[in-house]
């Protein structure tokens, strides 16, 4: 094969460095640019950055350890300059507990969402791609999982296992939360499967594994990513509920557990309403932050929702 006379050339507009990074074939920079100009995404991102900072800096910001008893104030004392949010029944500084709680909530939220996403993505990819009776069986099973109220299911699973540690909580939430993801991914795969380039790749002689991993998965990835972020919000809520119901290990001081403690000790009537309200607001804001960012990302990455 020789060179030819006609060579269509074009000056390179995009630097090779930028050309490396892509999501959905569009420059990552472009996506980032869109995030910067999307108010919803930015609001969500600010909230997330705040809480991530709190979680990472907890050892330096929090005056006490999460389970470290304080000596200078009695148990259940109301807020004071030394203890901004008062002291708990076991003599721990509640302000420090809320800061440390960020770690647990974020960790459980993110890891459980990853577990749910990995399972949901695998199930969705296989179900959508293989089709036929495999799809039918998987989707009917998925319908069953979907039709069971997740909270009841989680309480049963958690109760069966007894009190559960951090890893257990992550697995319980992850293993019960993949059905929606599976459904979303499956429908995306069904639509991708009919696209011309998949047909072409098949005709070129690609194996099914190659088709799935090199053509379908990368095209579904933005959706998977946005979906994972939304799942994080659900997982954080689930963890709070499980902690509130005393189904998690006592040592995991998460926001849900702090709220449960406050509730048990009548925080409202002993003059320390912040004990109940502040961790509650933290849950609301963190979940809100993930929702805002997740939906905005979905809007940016999902071509059907993208504003023209």
């Amino acid at each position: 094969m020789g060179a030819t006379e006609v060579v269509i050339s074009r000056p390179s507009v995009v630097s090779p460095f930028r050309a490396q990074l892509t999501i959905t074939g569009r420059r990552l920079g472009e996506v980032w640019h869109q995030i910067l100009h999307n108010k919803t995404a930015m609001a969500g991102l600010c909230i997330l950055i705040f809480f991530v900072f709190l979680a990472l800096a907890a050892p330096w910001i929090a005056p006490y350890g999460p389970l470290q008893p304080v000596n200078d104030a009695p148990a259940l004392s109301p807020p004071s300059p030394q203890h901004l949010m008062g002291v708990s029944r076991l003599g721990n500084d509640i302000f420090s507990q809320v800061i440390w709680g960020t770690q647990v909530s974020l960790l459980v939220g993110v890891l459980a969402a990853i577990v749910a996403s990995v399972i949901g993505t695998a199930v969705g990819l296989i179900s959508g791609f293989v089709g036929g009776w495999v799809d039918d069986v998987i989707m009917r099973f998925n319908d069953i999982v979907l039709s069971i109220p997740w909270l009841v299911l989680m309480i049963i699973v958690a109760a069966r296992l007894g009190t559960i540690d951090l890893l257990g909580i992550i697995l319980v939430i992850g293993l019960t939360g993949w059905s929606v993801t599976a459904r979303v991914i499956r429908s995306q795969v069904l639509s991708l499967k009919e696209r011309m380039f998949v047909e072409r790749a098949k005709m070129v002689g690609s194996s099914n594994t190659h088709l799935l991993l090199r053509h379908i998965f990368p095209n579904a990835f933005p959706l998977i990513f946005a979906n994972t972020i939304l799942t994080v919000a659900i997982s954080i809520l689930s963890e709070s509920v499980l902690a509130f119901l005393n189904l998690s290990v006592r040592q995991n001081i998460s926001w849900g557990r702090i709220v449960a403690e406050a509730q048990k000790n009548n925080a409202m009537t002993i003059g320390n309403p912040g004990w109940l309200i502040i961790p509650g607001l933290c849950i609301v804001f963190l979940v809100f932050g993930f929702y805002l960012f997740g939906y905005a990302l979905d809007e940016i990455l999902n071509p059907r929702l993208r504003r023209r």
Binding site: M1, G2, A3, T4, V6, V7, I8, S9, R10, S12, P16, A19, T22, T24, G25, R26, R195, M196, F197, V198, E199, R200, A201, M203, V204, G205, S206, H210, R214, H215, P218, N219
Partner: protein
């Protein structure tokens, strides 16, 4: 060098010889008789055109040549001989050795045939990696060579499809078809949906490649002007059957079959009087229930009683094959074959 088009039976010199090919699709509405007994031959370095309206079996024929029919499609009868080997009966494993390395295809619809999130270079290298088992580096270098062959600078290997124009994407599809040095390239509507300037460039490129790489080409199009420019021989198809088959010049200057006459008449002549081109009344029949006799008879202004119950078999009429009872030399398809079809 060119073998006769009426050459029948025995050893043939043609590179590819299709004989009496019948393909059906099973659908919920019934059996679709997509291709019904077509025959043609392709010599080395020759370009053959398959022309006809949409839905007349052109793409089905092309896919059958590569044994890439969708799962509900089946070759019922006939043979496809490539260098004497019958591709119809070949095992999947053996066909894989021919597919892409001997016969390849430029897909219809270049705009959507590229994965939007994979680099052009990786996509061109895909058939090379899959069929030749070479190193990634080698495949990538070859992909660069191929891009230059189709007239695109090789530094664009790392670009994504959305950075290419429609014409350039079509060039990429051509590069992909050439990836494993095939003998035959099937171009399925290579210039459809491109503007006229780009069409001319792509056709010129195909012609140059055919000459320089000594390719044989099967060009599928509904556009007769495309055929006239590039093909040595043309087969005019209608509703899955062959209407007329012969040298391009003969067919365009003196069409014999009423359908071909209609097609050639429907295509305006820039030097002629400014009149509205003639059209063929009616529509393409359903291939689930094709008309009895000659498939074209419901739309044919010359149709007579014989056309409604006898199927004309393509027979030699003034140096080409024509399937029309207007010519006394045309025979009918033998009753045995008709019965076999029912």
């Amino acid at each position: 060098m060119k073998s006769s088009i009426h050459d029948s039976g025995g050893a043939s010199l043609s590179l590819l010889e299709v004989k009496d090919l019948v393909i059906e699709y099973t659908t919920q509405k019934g059996t679709v008789h997509a291709v019904d007994g077509i025959s043609f031959a392709l010599d080395e370095g020759e370009a053959l055109g398959l022309a006809g309206e949409s839905g007349c079996g052109k793409t089905t024929t092309a896919l059958a040549l590569m044994r890439l029919l969708p799962h509900n499609g089946r070759i019922i009868r006939g043979s496809i001989r490539f260098r004497g080997k019958n591709l119809v009966t070949l095992s999947e494993l053996s066909i894989r050795r021919i597919r892409w390395k001997e016969i390849s295809i430029i897909f219809q619809g270049a705009m959507n045939s590229l994965n939007p999130i994979r680099r052009i270079g990786d996509q061109i290298a895909e058939p090379i990696l899959l069929h030749e088992g070479v190193e990634k580096q080698v495949a990538r270098r070859r992909a660069g060579d191929l891009l230059e062959v189709v007239g695109i600078n090789r530094n664009r290997l790392r670009d994504y499809p959305h950075e290419f124009s429609g014409g350039m994407r079509q060039r990429v599809m051509i590069a992909m078809a050439l990836a494993c040095n095939p003998k035959i390239v099937i171009a399925d509507e290579p210039v459809t949906a491109l503007d006229v300037m780009i069409q001319a460039q792509i056709l010129e490129l195909l012609e140059r490649l055919k000459r320089e790489l000594d390719l044989s080409m099967i060009l599928i199009s509904h556009d007769l002007s495309v055929m006239a420019e590039t093909c040595d021989r043309v087969a005019i198809m209608y509703a899955g059957r062959m209407m007329e088959y012969g040298q391009t010049v003969d067919i365009f200057t003196g069409p014999k079959h009423p359908y071909t006459q209609g097609l050639v008449g429907a295509f305006p002549d820039i030097r002629g009087a400014r009149t509205i081109p003639e059209s063929i009344p009616g529509a393409v029949p359903s291939l689930i229930n094709p008309p009895s006799g000659c498939v074209f008879h419901p739309r044919c202004k010359f149709a007579f009683d014989r056309c409604t119950d006898h199927i004309p078999s393509p027979s030699a009429v003034s140096g080409r094959d024509v399937a029309c009872f207007l010519y006394p030399e045309v025979q009918e398809v033998s009753p045995r074959l008709v019965e076999a079809k029912l």
